[in-house]
């Protein structure tokens, strides 16, 4: 019960049921590298009349906002690579734990690439990235039937800039909740 949030993941408002589910998994190792900055899309604020007891204000457990803010819905890749980086593994491990905690949730993994590649190749590279995330989650116990994948290639950059910082953000896989969140 003394699971502490890692320095970089603001784990707020953990319900006791959720903690029990977490207990069977060791806490994720600290990330070796700082993750790139969060996506610029700010989640909507939580409902004002929150019926569930909370230790502090924040997203309700089991909501999309909870997943996005407290777990992290996006991980990043190196150029032309689809291997899971050291800084991404703990985020994905937390995603798996969260998904096991909320068994009705279904997700779509969206693979994305930076603009420094040709279009057709990038559609395939994005698919490979999405599948790398899918495989990780399945290996950590999430039933494969709850996961679909898609590649947006380089067509949906989260950072429209034209420098290495933007491209690093654009090389990502997002775990999008499509169904079953509270």
């Amino acid at each position: 019960m003394n699971l502490r949030p890692t320095a970089r993941l603001t784990l707020a408002a953990l319900a006791s049921a959720a903690l029990a589910a977490c207990a069977s998994h060791p806490p994720p190792p600290p990330a070796a590298v700082s993750p790139p900055p969060q996506a610029s899309e700010a989640p909507p604020p939580p409902p004002s009349a929150a019926p569930t007891p909370q230790t502090q204000s924040g997203p309700l457990p089991g909501t999309v906002q909870d997943f996005v803010i407290n777990v992290g819905d996006r991980i990043y890749f190196d150029f032309d690579r689809a291997s899971i980086r050291a800084d991404a593994a703990p985020i994905l491990a937390n995603q798996a734990q969260w998904l096991l905690r909320y068994p009705n949730v279904r997700v779509r993994i969206e693979g994305n690439c930076d603009e420094r590649g040709t279009r057709e190749y990038n559609f395939a590279l994005g698919a490979r990235r999405a599948d790398a995330v899918r495989s990780f989650l399945v290996l950590h116990g999430v039933p494969a039937g709850r996961i679909t994948t898609i590649s947006y290639g380089k067509e949906q950059p989260i950072d429209p800039g034209h420098d290495e910082q933007a491209w690093a953000r654009d090389r990502n896989a997002r775990t999008a909740i499509v169904e079953g969140a509270r």
Binding site: D80, G117, T118, R119, D131, Y152, P157, P160
Partner: protein
């Protein structure tokens, strides 16, 4: 006599007067397509007689020939006469302004309301008529007549088929990059007659022309997956190409040269491999195996081989295999990453994109992998597509911080031009000759 009959227009190619009997098989003056970029052929194209439509036609012919880079239409202000299409020109007057070729024409609208255009191409120094033809069509097809005249001139003087009576389908991009709207758009190769084929409600990519039919295949991307579509340009009829269990991404479709099949790439568990579907039976077959990314397949024009892109050796490279998937071997060994290969319609070259660091180039190589040449380098380049005569490539080019535009480059690499197009665009596909 080498002008193809434009069957689409039910046009009548008519031998004018008597001069044709003496027409040589090839002109005395010839344009060497490999040298002309350095010294384009001076050609005089006086405004065609026959009112405004005559003038419009000669303008379009002149613009086509000028844009090819092989011809240099002379300034009409230097012309001292307005020649009659049925009178032998005063060649000395044209020699005086250093014209080597002279194109004369006249447009008339006959009693049935049909437009007829007579034109003659003259070799100024030899005093020979090289072409003399009448083209007839409905008046609203005047641009088609103009492109066919330009094709006739190009073919007579270069010995190679023209490519002006063609269309280009591409992905029109509007809106900011974060909320971009993509639509398939079709236009004449000179940018005229643009029209949208899709309404922007779906994301569309990679249109490719059929070699024989007025039909395209392309990819539609939705959050549920990527599908391959076929669309008939005459009827507008659309069809989704099959259902593929366990493949969410079916991508990079292209017709086989005989139009009986569509070859494509599909991802399964992170590996992308190449498949081919027979359009009559809808049976499909897998051609490549393994965990690599295999994509961007393109047939040789005889249909016997397929060039494709794969990262099976660690970085994206070009490979060729037999049409049944056998006998795979690697073509590219130079520095950088090779993608987007496309076999030329004459079978002689393979065009591709090479990426070295932050520089993207359009290049060509022999189908054996030899004689690799860079044609043009840029901040970004993608999706080369061949003109039907195999002499010119259109491609997507982006300068740093700019929007994607369509450009053309000839196979010598000397003639680089922005293609006339109404909006920012990517993913061009060049049609076969329409006549």
């Amino acid at each position: 006599m080498s002008i193809p009959l434009p069957s689409r227009l039910a046009a009548v190619a008519l031998i004018l007067a008597a001069a044709f009997a003496a027409t040589p098989a090839l002109a005395d003056i010839t344009v060497d397509v490999n040298q002309a970029a350095l010294q384009p052929l001076p050609i005089a194209i006086p405004t065609f007689s026959g009112g405004s439509v005559g003038a419009q036609i000669s303008d379009v012919v002149s613009a086509d020939l000028d844009r090819s880079g092989l011809f240099r239409p002379l300034d009409p202000a230097s012309f001292h006469q307005t020649p009659d299409v049925n009178v032998t020109p005063d060649f000395n007057a044209w020699k005086a302004i250093a014209a080597q070729a002279l194109l004369v024409g006249n447009a008339v609208t006959d009693a049935d309301g049909r437009l007829s255009v007579d034109f003659r191409l003259w070799d100024v120094y030899a005093g020979d008529q090289l072409v003399g033809t009448r083209l007839t069509a409905t008046p609203d097809s005047w641009r088609t007549i103009a492109h066919e005249i330009a094709d006739a001139v190009y073919e007579k003087l270069t010995g190679e088929p023209g490519y002006f009576d063609t269309r280009v389908v591409f992905v029109a991009e509007t809106g900011p990059r974060s909320h971009r709207v993509t639509r398939l758009e079709i236009m004449d190769q000179d940018g005229a007659n643009p029209s949208y084929l899709t309404d922007g409600s779906t994301e569309v990519f990679g249109p490719r022309f059929s070699m024989r039919r007025q039909e395209i295949t392309y990819m539609v991307l939705r959050p549920t997956g990527a599908s391959i579509y076929l669309k008939n340009l005459d009827t507008g009829r659309e069809e989704v190409l099959g259902r593929f269990p366990n493949m969410t991404m079916t991508m990079a479709p292209r017709f086989s040269p005989d139009d009986s099949k569509v070859i494509f790439a599909a991802d399964r568990n992170g590996a992308t491999n190449i498949y081919v579907m027979d359009l009559a039976s809808h049976q499909y077959r897998r051609l490549t195996y393994g965990l690599s990314i295999d994509t961007s397949p393109s047939y040789s024009p005889d249909g016997s081989r397929i060039v494709f892109n794969s990262d099976r050796d660690g970085t994206p490279e070009l490979y060729v295999m037999n049409a049944d998937g056998s006998n795979v071997h690697r073509l590219s060994f130079g520095p950088g990453r090779y993608t987007a290969p496309v076999w030329s319609p004459d079978g002689k070259l393979i065009a591709f994109v090479n990426q070295q660091g932050q520089v993207f180039s359009i290049g060509v190589m022999d189908p054996s992998g030899g004689n690799e040449r860079t044609l043009v380098s840029s901040y970004f380049a993608d999706d080369p597509t061949w003109a039907p005569n195999g002499r010119v490539l259109m491609f997507e080019r982006k300068l740093a911080d700019g929007a994607s535009r369509l450009w053309t480059v000839d196979v010598t690499g000397h003639i680089l031009k922005e293609a006339p197009s109404p909006v920012a665009g990517s993913d061009p596909a060049w049609s076969p000759l329409l006549h």
